[in-house]
């Protein structure tokens, strides 16, 4: 028997074996309906002295960008040790979505601004189908290279101009947005098919509203740490494989409290 025939046979046997498996999967994913919704809250703190922040030097458009103090924003720790820009999202596939969420997403534009030769906010979360706009409030032209796996783009964004787009497929990891004219400019975009994703604020706090009550699995990610593998809650260290943590969502609200992130996590 030739190699080709063997391979053809291999792919045939693999064809016929699937329907049963597919059916089994379909049954397993049936989830009981959740009528109650709760809010997940928490806060990320840095487990050491706030690291010094490196200043960045603009080497283009000095007459505009040179005026602003530019810093490395990879790890932003506030005065109260809050860690900003930790991405938190519910990773359960097919998680039930609150009835108000879809209309709200369609009506809310997510905006990423090129301002003072940096991107703001540093992390944006966009839902599939939700309008996403990149604008430019600077007096110099920028471009925004959006390296998502689906619908990637790189558009010129002139001063005062904007570029709109939508995404059709969700992604499991934030993608980088860069400006090729000013390579120090970096931001991150996470595309999800549900509203249950956010990034921690400057004080390290985050809130995800209207999550179906019951157990969900959160994914924790940070651009410097990658998937966060360990947190310390109430003085107790907790290894969380691949940055995943199961939490129970109560209708009355779930507060995950203060989660301390060891400095070692960010030394990569």
């Amino acid at each position: 028997m030739t190699m080709t025939k063997l391979l053809a046979a291999a792919s045939r046997s693999f064809t016929t074996a699937f329907p049963a498996l597919v059916a089994a999967c379909g049954l397993a994913s049936g989830v009981a309906g959740a009528e109650e919704w709760g809010t997940i809250k928490g806060r990320f703190l840095y487990g050491g002295d706030a690291p010094s922040v490196a200043e960045l030097k603009a080497d283009k458009d000095l007459e505009v960008c040179g005026k602003h103090k530019l810093v490395n924003e990879e790890l932003a720790v506030g005065a109260d040790k809050g860690v900003a820009n930790v991405v938190v999202f519910v990773r359960d596939k097919g998680v039930k979505v609150h009835p108000d969420a879809a209309a709200e997403a369609k009506a809310t534009k997510v905006v990423l601004d090129n301002k003072d030769c940096r991107f703001t906010p540093h992390v944006v979360v966009v839902q599939t189908g939700q309008p996403f706009v990149i604008k430019n409030s600077d007096t110099v032209g920028h471009n925004s290279n959006v390296a998502t796996r689906n619908n990637p783009s790189n558009s010129l964004i002139p001063s005062g101009g904007e570029s709109s787009m939508t995404f059709t497929a969700e992604e499991a990891i934030p993608a980088q947005v860069t400006c090729n004219i000013h390579p120090w400019m970096k931001a991150w975009i996470l595309v999800r098919s549900n509203p249950y994703a956010t990034a921690s604020a400057a004080d390290g706090s985050f809130e995800i509203k209207n999550v179906p009550a019951g157990e969900v699995e959160l994914q924790l990610w940070h651009e410097k740490a990658g998937y966060i593998g360990e947190i310390t809650v109430g003085g107790k260290s907790e290894k969380i494989a691949k940055g995943r943590r199961k939490v129970k969502v109560e209708a009355a609200g779930t507060n995950l409290g203060e989660m301390v992130l060891a400095p070692g996590l960010f030394q990569k």
């Binding site: 063997l6 498996l21 558009s155 010129l156 002139p158 090729n180």
Partner: protein
Amino acid sequence: MNRFSHVAFLLAAGCLLSAGCGRTPPASYRLNMVEATKQRLTTEQERQVATVLLAMFGTPDEPVALPETGLDEAKLRLASGPVRSDIVGRKNGLYREHCAHCHGVTGDGMGPTAAFLKPYPRDYRPGIFKFKSTERADKPTHADLLRILRNGIAGTSMPSFALLSEPQIDALVEYVKYLSIRGETELSLMRAYFELDDDAQGILPETREFLVDETLTPIAEKWKSAAAAQIVVPDMPADIDLAESIAKGKELFYGDKANCVKCHGVTGLGDGQANDYDDWSKAIVEINKEIKGGLAKAGETSTSGMSAEDAAEHRKQVAWLGRFSHVVDGDALVPRTIPPRNLRLGVYRGGRRPLDLYYRIHAGINGAPMPAAKGTVPPEDIWHIVNYIRSLPYEFDGELGADRPMVARDRF
């Protein structure tokens, strides 16, 4: 559900045995080690990717095209395998005769000559192609790739293959698509490990639904829909004098809207923003940083004083770095920055027709820092920029300074 993988694995073992003594082992595909490193795959996971790819795509000598790929296996047979004549005296093995020494048997752009070429030969595996008639993120059309093979790429080591027959060029284009679909499938598989639920125990489901419907089909569909995604180019404005159009183009080139000047430079010599990398080099820069930084840090860290658990974690990390440290030296080309094009040379890689320049400006260049003007610069203005660019090699350049790089005028 491991039947499929067993079959393929036995096959692989069989191939090795049947090669026998004293014969050259059959050509095999290389795994994408940069991505495997990035995803921190285990050896078992690497083996699974190789096994699944073998069953879905076959070997360099015996390629397989599942119907979902939309590829023509007869054409692949003509292009694949060692150079030889078939039963009717037709030459087979065209890819290895004409392409593999630069683009590699795997299509990873790492053939034996690759390290000596600048720019490096294209790595087909990410599915990113620069010179095409489609929007930035879309695949090239079949005709786009035929054009590249017939004309070559000016200013690079890619020659013209116009001496080959049409069916031969056509077969090679089909084979490039096959290698690209295979490479992109490999990337998808490697990236899928992370998304597995814990109960999958780090093993991808070897089901038709996952491998074909969810992984292969979306990649193949992008190739199939390329022809329909061609950029519609309006005619060059006819009611304007060429000199006037060039003047408008010049204004746009230096203006804030099109902003060409920022990278191509005030002089147009490509001396603006030149510190950036293309997508291929960027991936290597990032992984190098992670491994080199990690090794340096591991060298400084002592496990004494660590808890047993932390020490074990540390050893695991060091073992991982050690296992992949060869990626820095052996499995990837040394990354290079990508200089913006010198527009005064009159050399245009993607073709010198006004239409080619229109495509480049409208859609940008995929994989490169060049952004798309589409949506920002109206079509008639793109045409003015095209006219200005085409005039640049012949423009008076007396004020550029003595140390300027060569421009086209110097050669006449």
